[in-house]
Subunit: 170 residues, 2 copies
Amino acid sequence: MDLKKYIRIIPDFPKEGIRFKDITPLLGDGKAFKHAINLLAEKIKGKEIDLIVGPEARGFVIGGPLAYKLECGFVPVRKKGKLPGETVNATYVLEYGKDALEIHKDAIKPGQKVFITDDLLATGGTMKTTIELVERLGGQVVGLGFFIELTYLEGRNSLTGYDVISLLKY
Amino acid sequence: MDLKKYIRIIPDFPKEGIRFKDITPLLGDGKAFKHAINLLAEKIKGKEIDLIVGPEARGFVIGGPLAYKLECGFVPVRKKGKLPGETVNATYVLEYGKDALEIHKDAIKPGQKVFITDDLLATGGTMKTTIELVERLGGQVVGLGFFIELTYLEGRNSLTGYDVISLLKY
């Protein structure tokens, strides 16, 4: 199955000059969505995984079914103020200003093996912040999985030392 | 399996007097999460469903695996400005002010059978807005599914005519 057929390019979103890779046609097709999740699961077969972690919000759409498939727990990483329990947080730099991501303090036990997933690897900023949160709780990051990798942004280079897996490269 | 054991009550979140039902311990336990999704799937067995729709962001965590399990497409409903393609939107009233939800115009074809899911049924405001979006695209809502229903808020009464399914009642 050619999953790239289900990715739609939207010019000038969220701003001029960016050719946004829209995964909603892939999500909206039951067979393609299932195939993509199964493919990601296939690529991490053999890894010992206790928890899937995904950043808000598209990371939830991939992390949820992957956790279901692997019968792992799912841990959400959210924007500031969204998680109800005690959290740790980390800020990351955006083009204009900063934003913060949070994780529940008790979501990961030291030594638990964590696979982190999101829809798209661009510069790697969100992912680096998510890794930081997982590791501060003592989690061991066993890999990072994406539906899409924008290779020309070289996000992978900012994630050296981690096993980076992507289904579709642009 | 007693799923209520995996729901954590957080007092005074997001504001004083509210006893927030936190589903993250349920999500974080692989067996409990899988069981909850399977239970929801069991309760809608026999329904013809083309698409699962879920509102941002917790609706993604439930809608994603449910779509995976049923091999349906998943359609995200998002806060204003988050979806890259052409959208229709609807506003809903919050305690202070208004907010808007959006759906991609081409996400649902007229006549498609849609099951909508979210983590929690409170007053039903988010759900009513989501139904409005689905129906404006010509989708046929065949049911609404929640992990949790706050029965004392009587959200169900604002959703008459729809098949409301919830796993846990408070």
